[in-house]
């Protein structure tokens, strides 16, 4: 589904990603972990197509297409979804309205008729249950005045509505209390199928108790330095990142 080969990217001449290799297949959940500043969020942003970053080297194939050639909106319509670490507020635009535009843009791209109001509403009601989100919240301006937990739940709700092939969760657990974390994770688990995949970017192991990954990768200084199963995450939880840093720095020296 997603094949990243030697991906290098920089921002304002500063090299952040120094050669990422990653292969994600349908039905898999991958976790990207790593200390602050290792390039986790950069990877998520580059895949989604944020223009601040310049890709200097490497290729990314998504669903058989050259991802890097696609505009951010086309990446989205091809089925790539990014749950933002800091969801953006758009005053005066209700979540309902916003997500309706998004859903219908995607349908148009896929050559489908726009959803009529009744279908859309039915669909929405169903997905609202997944993340225990309230109708009144969706009628309010997008993310405006939402609590941290509400914003993250809204991201997962949008994900459910758009039904992506690959969802990237960028530190979705940050700023969440344990209840919100459980709700978010529960939503993700229910959306999981054999045909879609998730890339979970997180600093802490905590989220991975709820969303159990098939693979765990540790990103450090712009490279994936360790890959393993969920046991690797457990190890990190106990030892912290320092032991990996020390090992890697020694290898590189």
């Amino acid at each position: 589904m997603l094949k990243i080969n030697n991906l290098q990217a920089s921002i304002e001449e500063k090299e952040i990603l120094k050669g990422i290799n990653l292969d994600i297949k349908p039905g898999e959940i991958h976790a990207i972990m790593g200390p602050n500043g290792s390039g986790k969020s950069t990877l998520a942003s580059v895949l989604a197509g944020r223009a601040d970053y310049e890709v200097t080297e490497g290729t990314v194939e998504f669903m058989g297409k050259d991802l890097l050639e696609l505009s951010p909106e086309d990446r989205a319509k091809e089925g790539l979804f990014l749950a933002f670490q800091y969801p953006v507020e758009i005053p005066g635009v209700s979540t309902t309205n916003f997500i309706k535009s998004a859903v219908n843009e995607k349908r148009k791209y896929l050559g489908l008729e726009p959803l009529d109001a009744a279908q859309f509403l039915r669909n929405m009601k169903e997905k609202m249950k997944l993340v225990e989100i309230d109708q009144s919240l969706l009628s309010r301006s997008l993310n405006e005045g939402f609590s941290g937990g509400e914003k993250k739940r809204n991201e997962i709700f949008q994900m459910a509505m758009l039904d992506p092939k690959l969802a990237i969760l960028d530190e979705t657990d940050s700023g969440l209390d344990i209840d919100a974390l459980r709700i978010v994770a529960n939503g993700v688990n229910q959306l999981r199928t054999k045909d879609n995949a998730f890339l979970v970017v997180t600093h802490y192991q905590r989220l991975l108790d709820y969303i159990v990954p098939d693979f765990v990768h540790v990103l450090y200084k712009g490279r994936i330095v360790r890959s393993g199963t969920k046991e690797l995450a457990k190890e990190l939880e106990v030892k912290g990142y320092d032991f990996i840093k020390a090992e890697v720095d020694q290898e590189m020296a």
Binding site: R50, R75, F84, I90, S101
Partner: protein, 482 residues
Amino acid sequence: MHEENDDILEQVTSSEYKYGFVTDIEADEAPRGLSEDTVRFISAKKNEPAWMLAYRLKAYKHWLTMEEPKWPNVEYPPINYQDIIYYSAPKQKIAPDSLDDIDPELRKTFEKLGISLNEQKRLSGVAVDAVIDSVSVATTFKEELSKVGVIFCSMSEAIQEHPELIQKYLGSVVPATDNYFTALNSAVFSDGSFCFIPKGVRCPMELSTYFRINAANTGQFERTLIVAEDEAYVSYLEGCTAPMRDENQLHAAVVEIVAMEKAEVKYSTVQNWYPGDKEGKGGIFNFVTKRGICSGAHAKISWTQVETGSSITWKYPSVILKGDYSIGEFYSVAVTNNFQQADTGTKMIHLGKNTKSRIVSKGISAGKSQNSYRGLVSVAKNAGNARNFSQCDSLLLGDKCGAHTFPYIEVKNNTAVVEHEATTSKIGEDQIFYCNQRGIDTETAVALIVNGFAKEVMNQLPMEFAVEAQKLLAISLEGSVG
């Protein structure tokens, strides 16, 4: 990123005007230039009574003593008032009996604008008094209105048929001597609309007028008068588009509203005149005076405007709150793009006790345009317990445009409560990226964000206008996105 996004914004905001076309209709024109003879020519053309000619001449003589105002925050080349044609009427039988009598060219123009009268007549229940080049060519629903005693007709007709009302109210809210452009308008106004709602009548339909400027070099001087007697109600809609022109065209309209005891008048405008091209060439100069008076207690006047057109807009729809407990409202969205300049706002003059006013102004600037809000809230000495709330928000697209706010507050009574809030924001690249990531392209994203920003005002518009106005906001800011 910054540069790239600004490029996108620039592309998005430099779109072509979609309503640029010229109707080929023979015009019956006044000679170029302005003199006492011009004023007499117009009055004679319209078979006006002597009192009307006298009114015009008096205004003209006063105009000669005045100077063009220089205080607005706009710049434009000097206007040569002798190079303007002050009267132009389509050559055809005036006041047709049915829509079939209308010049087919004219009908086509309406259709291009999406305001087919047939359709209007059949579907919308909106009475349309369409003005093309200053003469009313079609009036519908008149009969139904007359059953309840509502008068809705062209100003020319009103001068002939209802001279007592015109003599009583014309110039009663906006005197001819009020300012340079009202004096000019009072001297040479060619036509406009008159609307009279008698005591206790709730007008059974929305009243609507479409103005168009057509023949080249023709100044358009519209005159609108709305009178709502005690406990009357009317919602009046004015909407405009104009053909593309290279020369600047002067437009100086006057709108007067009288709302008596417990009367309510809602006046909505969508203004989309030709704004000039991307280099700032051409476009309409729009110098408008709009004012209403709440003459009786508990009267209410509400102005709602969506201004997207004209190269220069100079316009301050105002309310004089004379009656105790009267209410004035002003809701405005002003969009400027490319080289457009807008200096617009309102005046709320509190004279009566317990009067209230509310101002919501949303300015959207793009391209190299300048957008100013200028507002006055005045509370007179005897206006006890007056309340005002003002909200002025500006949204910037790109970094070459400007937004300015000039709020004036004059309070002479210490029981008054006057609040003013203002914000300025930019469409953030993170907002656009967020939309992109959900599959929404930049152009659609800008339209979505802008409509969200203007929502509070758009919600004030009558339903059938709101949809049109939403599209207009998007069109005004759209372009090819790379």
